[in-house]
C-alpha cells in the first residue's frame, strides 16, 4: 500500500500529531521515561559505571566478623553476604531484569493476545477449546508448572524467560478474550461484516487497534510481575542461576539477613518498584495518547 502510514490508525496518529510532542507535555510520563532510560543505561553501561566485578568476592568486602559492609565507604551501597559490591550487582542485575521483563513479558503478551483475540472473536468450539485451555492453565499452580518446566530444561536466562511467558500469558488471554468478545458485538463490526470484510481484515484493522491500550497497560503491569516471578524462581533455585545477579535473586539470597543488613533487600527492592512504576507511568500516558476518542475533547 502506498500510504501504509495512513492505513494503520495507531501509526497514523504517531505520524500526524506526534506522540513525542504530546508525551512531552506530560511531566509524570517524562519522569517515567527518564527512569526507564536510567535502568536501560545502567544495564548497558554497567561495566563503565563501576570498577568492581559483580561476582568477585572481595576480601575487604566483609567486616572482620564476616558480616556484610553497610552502605558508605568504598562500597556505595554496601556489600552482600559473600563480600560482593551491591551496587555493581544491582547494575548488572538490571540486564537480567530488563531481558526477563521485555522478552518474557513480550512473549506472554503475544501468546495471550493470539489466544484471547481468536477465542473472543470466533467463539464457538474454537473459543471453547482455547478458553478451557486457559482455565486449565489458571487452575494449575503457576509456580509448580514453572518449577516443572525449569527442571526439565537446563535453567538459563532465556529458558527462564520462556517458562515465565508460558505461565504468564493466561491473564492477558482472559482480559483480551472478554474485551474482544464485547468488541465483536459492537455495531461497527456488524457494519464491517455487511460490507463483506474478511475475518483477517476485521481482526487486524478493527479489533486489534482497539485492544492496543489494554495491551500496553498489561504490558507495563506485566513487567513488574515477571520481574517478581523471575525472583521467585531464582529463589527456588530454578531461575537465573547464581552467580549471575538479578534483582530478584539478590533479595532472596539476602533475605535471611534482612534485620541485620536491611540495605541488601531495600536497594534491589527499590530498583524493582522504580522500574515497575516507570513502566506504569509510560504505559498510562501512551494509552491516553493512543486512544483518539480521548483526544480533542473540551
Amino acid at each position: 500500500m502506498a500510504n501504509s502510514v495512513n492505513s494503520d490508525p495507531a501509526t497514523a496518529i504517531i505520524a500526524e500529531r506526534g506522540v513525542i510532542a504530546q508525551f512531552a507535555r506530560r511531566k509524570l510520563a517524562l519522569f517515567g521515561l527518564f527512569l526507564v532510560f536510567l535502568t536501560l543505561g545502567a544495564a548497558i553501561f554497567a561495566p563503565w559505571l563501576t570498577t568492581f566485578d559483580p561476582n568477585e568476592q572481595m576480601f575487604d568486602g566483609l567486616t572482620l566478623q564476616g558480616a556484610p559492609m553497610p552502605p558508605g565507604g568504598p562500597f556505595a551501597l554496601g556489600t552482600d553476604l559473600l563480600g560482593r559490591d551491591l551496587l555493581t550487582r544491582i547494575l548488572y542485575g538490571a540486564r537480567t531484569s530488563l531481558i526477563i521483563g521485555v522478552a518474557a513479558n513480550g512473549l506472554a503478551l503475544f501468546i495471550g493476545t493470539v489466544v484471547g483475540v481468536t477465542a473472543g472473536y470466533f467463539r464457538g468450539w474454537v473459543g471453547s477449546v482455547l478458553m478451557r485451555l486457559t482455565d486449565l492453565m489458571m487452575a494449575f499452580p503457576a509456580l509448580l508448572l514453572a518449577i516443572c518446566l525449569a527442571a526439565i530444561f537446563q535453567p538459563s536466562l532465556w529458558i527462564v524467560a520462556l517458562v515465565i511467558a508460558i505461565v504468564y500469558w493466561v491473564q492477558t488471554a482472559r482480559v483480551l478474550f472478554a474485551e474482544t468478545a464485547s468488541l465483536a458485538e459492537r455495531e461497527f463490526i456488524a457494519a464491517e461484516r455487511t460490507l463483506g470484510a474478511s475475518h483477517t481484515r476485521i481482526l487486524l484493522k478493527h479489533i486489534l487497534p482497539h485492544l492496543v491500550p489494554t495491551i500496553i497497560v498489561w504490558g507495563t503491569l506485566g513487567i513488574s510481575t515477571t520481574v517478581l516471578l523471575e525472583a521467585t524462581l531464582s529463589f527456588l533455585g530454578v531461575g537465573v542461576q547464581p552467580p549471575t545477579p538479578s534483582w530478584g535473586n539478590i533479595i532472596f539470597e539476602n533475605q535471611t539477613y534482612f534485620q541485620a543488613a536491611p540495605w541488601l533487600v531495600f536497594f534491589p527492592g527499590l530498583a524493582i518498584v522504580t522500574l515497575a512504576l516507570a513502566f506504569n507511568l509510560v504505559g498510562d500516558a501512551l494509552r491516553e495518547i493512543l486512544d483518539p476518542t480521548q483526544r480533542g475533547r473540551d
Binding site: 502506498a2 490508525p9 455495531e187 461497527f188 456488524a190 463483506g196 470484510a197 473540551d298
Partner: protein, 607 residues
C-alpha cells in the same frame, strides 16, 4: 397569559382561584461547565414562571440545555464540573440555588419529583416494585413501611397498572417498558408533589404506549393540580400536552408563548424551522419525488422468510423456548423504490434487515437482484454483497472510532478491490460532496462530527459500491428533527438520481409517510398490512395499522384527538415454548396491491 391559560385549561378541568399561584420562578438562570479552558456557559440567562396546575413544555433539540435546566431545578447537576453560575430559582419562597444538599433532599421527590427517559435504568433492578415505592415514601414521611406499602398500592392503582397487588412483588425486568414508566410516574406522584418534571418521559416508548402514558399524565395532572415541566424534543407531544411552550436552542432562550399561539404564529425563525421540520402525518398523498419506481425490475424478493432464535435455559442449557422474531414474511422491492417496514419494538422489522445481509440465520428465500442468498447462514458472493448495503441506527456505533472517516468510506472499495488508490480517493471525495460534506473533512475521526454528519458518512459509505438496495434501519431515529428532515431529503434525492432502492425501517409513522412509496406494517413478526403509502395512510384497513396511526401525536394543538381504545394488557410475547407454533396470517389483496391480514388470527398460538 393567565387568561389564555384559563381558557385552555378551563374547558377540561374546573380550577380553583389558587391555581393561578406561582410555584416556580426561574430568573436569569445560567449553568456553566468547568473545562480546562475555563468556564463554558451551557445555559444563558433563562427565565420562566410556572403556575400551579399548568404544563410548561421546554422544547428544543439535543444540546439546547433543556435537560440541564431541569437538573438545575432539582439540584442534580453533576458536580463538580457543571454548576449554576448565575440567576435564581425560586420555589415558592425558597431559593433553590443556594440551598444545601440536606435541605434539597427534603424537596426532591417530595415537593419536586422527576420522571426520567429510560424507565429501566431509573429503577433499581434488584428491588421489588413495592419496596422501591415504599422506600421513596418513607424517605419523606414519617410512616411505617407497612403504611407506605399501602400508599404505594394506591399510587400503582392511580396510574392504572393492571393487577397492582401483583406488581408490588415483581421486579422491574418483569414489567414492560410502558408499565415501568407507569411505576416511575407512580413513584413521582405518590407524595403529591407541587412540581413534576418529566424529562422525555415517552421518548423510549412505542407510539401506542406513549399515547397511554401521555393520557395518564394529563389525567393525573388534572386530578391533582400538579404543575408539570415537560421536557421533550417532540413537537407532537408538546402540542398534545402543553399549556405553554418555551423553545430553547444551544442554551439560549428562543421563544415562549402559549401553545396555540406558538404553533399558529411562531415569532422566531428558529421556531418556524423547528415546526417546519416536524414530519406530519397526512393521508399518504404528500409524497413528491422526481422519478417513479421501475416496477418491472425487482431488487429484493423475500419469500416466506422465517427467523427464529432459540432460548436456552436450565443447567443443561437445553432449548426450552423459541423467539419467533420473523414469521413467514414475503415482500418485493422494486428498483428505485423506497419500501418502509413500520412497527413497534420487537415486531421483527430489524431482524428482517439482518437476515437480508446475513447477520442472522434465516429460512425461506431471499433474493437480491436475482441472486439467491443461501439459507440458513446467508452466505453470498461478493457481487451480491456489493448490491446490498446497510445504514444502521446509531452512526457513532457503526463507525469504527479509531479510523479516519475518509478511510471508512474508502473501505468498501478496498475490501472489494475496486479501482486504484487514486480512483478510490476520488470516489471518496465525490461521495463526501454528494452527501453534503466537504472533502477536507476526510482526515477527521468520527467523534469530531455531529450526529447528522455521521449519518451522512454512513450513507456515503453505503453508496461507495453503487449498491442496488440500501437498508436504512432506524437511520434517522436518533437525529434531531431539523437534521432528520435534511437527511430524509438526501435519501429521496439519491433514489431519484442514482436509481437505488431503499428498505427503510422505522417506528416513526410520520417519517415513513413522508418518505415511502410502499409500506409494510409489521406486528409480532408478521406483515399485517402492506400497500402503497396512500393506501396505508389514506385508507388503513387493519385494526393495528389504525391504532398505530391514531396514536401518533399531532403537532397541532387545535386538533381534536380521537379517543383511543385502551389496550388490554400488553403486546403478546413472540417467545413461545418449543411445542407451540405460531399461526401465520393470510394476506388478502383488496385491490391495487393493498394487502391486509385476515383479522383475529395473530397473537394466538396453536398447541
Amino acid at each position: 397569559m393567565n387568561d389564555e391559560n384559563n381558557k385552555l385549561f378551563g374547558a377540561q378541568a374546573p380550577k380553583s382561584p389558587s391555581d393561578t399561584g406561582l410555584v416556580l420562578r426561574v430568573d436569569h438562570l445560567a449553568v456553566s461547565v468547568n473545562t480546562e479552558a475555563g468556564l463554558k456557559p451551557l445555559v444563558h440567562g433563562l427565565s420562566f414562571d410556572l403556575r400551579r396546575g399548568e404544563t410548561l413544555a421546554i422544547a428544543g433539540e439535543s444540546g439546547s440545555g433543556k435537560s440541564l435546566t431541569s437538573l438545575a431545578i432539582m439540584g442534580l447537576l453533576p458536580p463538580p464540573a457543571v454548576r449554576v453560575t448565575g440567576g435564581s430559582i425560586l420555589f415558592g419562597q425558597q431559593e433553590l440555588t443556594t440551598l444545601g444538599e440536606n435541605a434539597l433532599r427534603q424537596i426532591r421527590g417530595n415537593r419536586i419529583a422527576m420522571i426520567f427517559q429510560e424507565p429501566m435504568t431509573s429503577l433499581n433492578p434488584v428491588m421489588k416494585i413495592g419496596a422501591q415505592l415504599a422506600e421513596a415514601i418513607c424517605a419523606h414521611e414519617a410512616i411505617s413501611f407497612q403504611d407506605a406499602r399501602v400508599r404505594a398500592l394506591e399510587a400503582l392503582k392511580s396510574v392504572r397498572l393492571s393487577e397492582p397487588e401483583k406488581r408490588l412483588d415483581q421486579f422491574p425486568h418483569e414489567l414492560s417498558g410502558g408499565m415501568r414508566q407507569r411505576v416511575m410516574i407512580a413513584m413521582a406522584i405518590a407524595l403529591k408533589p407541587d412540581i413534576l418534571i418529566a424529562d422525555e418521559p415517552t421518548t423510549a416508548l412505542d407510539v401506542t404506549v406513549q399515547r397511554e402514558v401521555l393520557d395518564l399524565l394529563r389525567d393525573l395532572q388534572h386530578e391533582m393540580g400538579t404543575a408539570v415541566i415537560l421536557i421533550t424534543h417532540d413537537m407532537g407531544v408538546v402540542a398534545e400536552m402543553a399549556d405553554r411552550v418555551l423553545v430553547m436552542k444551544g442554551g439560549h432562550f428562543v421563544e415562549e408563548n402559549d401553545v396555540v399561539s406558538l404553533f399558529s404564529n411562531p415569532q422566531q425563525a428558529y421556531t418556524r424551522d423547528l415546526l417546519g421540520a416536524v414530519p406530519t402525518l397526512g393521508d399518504g398523498s404528500g409524497v413528491t419525488r422526481a422519478g417513479k419506481p421501475d416496477e418491472s425490475t425487482l431488487v429484493a424478493e423475500l419469500e416466506n422468510v422465517v427467523v427464529q432464535f432459540d432460548v436456552r435455559s436450565g443447567i443443561l442449557g437445553r432449548i426450552t423456548h423459541r423467539v419467533h422474531a420473523v414469521e413467514n414474511v414475503s415482500l418485493n422491492i422494486c428498483k428505485g423504490e423506497i419500501f418502509s417496514l413500520v412497527g413497534e419494538s420487537g415486531c421483527g422489522k430489524s431482524t428482517i434487515a439482518k437476515a437480508m445481509v446475513g447477520l442472522v440465520k434465516h429460512s425461506g428465500r431471499i433474493r437480491i437482484n436475482g441472486n439467491e442468498i443461501s439459507a440458513p447462514h446467508g452466505e453470498m458472493t461478493n457481487q451480491v454483497r456489493r448490491d446490498i448495503q446497510m445504514v444502521f441506527q446509531d452512526p457513532m456505533a457503526s463507525l469504527d472510532p479509531r479510523m479516519r472517516v475518509g478511510e471508512l468510506v474508502r473501505e468498501p472499495l478496498v475490501i472489494h478491490g475496486v479501482g486504484t488508490m487514486r480512483e478510490q480517493k476520488e470516489k471518496v471525495d465525490y461521495l463526501f460532496e454528494r452527501v453534503g460534506l466537504s472533502r477536507d473533512q476526510t482526515e477527521r475521526y468520527p467523534h469530531e462530527f455531529s450526529g447528522g454528519q455521521r449519518q451522512r458518512i454512513c450513507i456515503a459509505r453505503a453508496l461507495a459500491l453503487n449498491p442496488k438496495l440500501i437498508i436504512a434501519d432506524e437511520s434517522v431515529s436518533a437525529l434531531d428533527v431539523t437534521v432528520q428532515a435534511k437527511v430524509l431529503e438526501l435519501l429521496k434525492e439519491l433514489v431519484s438520481e442514482m436509481g437505488v432502492s431503499f428498505l427503510f425501517i422505522s417506528h416513526d409513522m410520520a417519517v415513513v409517510e413522508n418518505i415511502s412509496d410502499r409500506v409494510g406494517v409489521m406486528y409480532l413478526g408478521q406483515i399485517v398490512e402492506m400497500g402503497s403509502c396512500r393506501q396505508i395512510f389514506g385508507t388503513p384497513r387493519h385494526s393495528y395499522t389504525k391504532k398505530l396511526i391514531s396514536a401518533v401525536p399531532t403537532p397541532d394543538p387545535n386538533r381534536e384527538r380521537q379517543p383511543l381504545a385502551r389496550l388490554v394488557g400488553d403486546v403478546p410475547s413472540p417467545v413461545k415454548p418449543l411445542n407451540e407454533t405460531v399461526s401465520h396470517v393470510e394476506l388478502k389483496n383488496v385491490g391495487n396491491g393493498h394487502m391486509i391480514a385476515v383479522e383475529g388470527t395473530i397473537g394466538q398460538s396453536n398447541n
